[in-house]
Amino acid sequence: MNTSRRPSVANWLLRRFVGGPMRESLIGDIDEQFARGRSASWYWRQVMPAILCGFKGDLGERPFAVIGAVVFSSALAVVWVTLTTSFYGVIWEWLNPSIGNSYLAFEFLVPFGGGTCLLWCLFAAFAGRVSARCTDGNRAVLIGVLVTHAAWSLWLTRGFWLYLEFTASVSARLWVPNYLWAAMCLIGMPISTVIGFFWGTEGSDRGIATKPSPS
């Protein structure tokens, strides 16, 4: 009997990201093997195949839900980007006559950039929650939405990463907050998606979809 504790991060990943119709049996089997004396590194080695197994199961169960979630997330992202771009345009026009087209004007936009990142994370959490509610916590949907959001946040922050040298040369006061917010957008988006998704799955844990045992 193994009395040591399961690696907490691996345990969290297993319980949160493994889906599919065999979810309960698979996690139960891994726990049983670990209780019989398997090592912590063995437990870690079970995580990725288990997540992959759950992903395949969930994808096979609801392939159109995964496609729908990816399309829905992308459509929301397009709307969001269009709205924030217009918003930036209005602010820029409003600032320009008073302080001119200068770095100072650009610096005024920096706090708006931070605010946009925060709102972007809130949007990601919302999209994650809606996806979870509509698909009964299908983990393949989560992974689909996660990849979509990661791609969108990379696209949105491309200016920061592509013109890294230029932005750094403009002003030291600018690049620190800029990169901080760009990084926040990149890291915050997927985290917000995951938080929103699990918020949406609360109270609806998925069961085993196999035939009941004959009594």
Partner: protein
């Protein structure tokens, strides 16, 4: 020639483990049987992916067993080979035996 499902190497190992284990075949025992025979570690996720594929081909069936405290109250899923699966395992054996026969490199002796 009629079209039929072929089974892969790991699928065959899982089928053979199911035949050996009979009514006691679930994730842990299947993985243990394969590990003891092959001497290689087997990920439970890989076993379940293979079982799902075999079930889709109609080679195995499953039923839910009893939950135990050791498993955190989670029920086991027992698997059993079907008649179709058994036929496929026999066919695979015939195919392998036919390919094995008459090849000097595969006879006993140093590699």
């Amino acid at each position: 020639m009629p079209r039929r499902e072929f089974i892969g190497g790991f699928e065959l190992l899982v089928l053979l483990a199911l035949i050996r284990l009979g009514d006691d075949a679930y994730g842990v025992t299947i993985a243990d049987t394969i590990e003891q025979s092959s001497g290689r570690e087997v990920a439970l996720g890989s076993v379940y992916i293979t079982l799902a594929r075999l079930a889709a081909k109609g080679f195995v069936t499953s039923r839910t067993g009893e939950p135990t405290a050791e498993r955190g109250g989670r029920a086991k899923t027992y698997f059993r080979i079907t008649a179709k699966g058994l036929r496929e395992a026999r066919r695979a054996r015939q195919t392998l035996t036919a390919l094995w026969a008459g090849v000097p490199q595969l006879q006993r002796g140093p590699a």
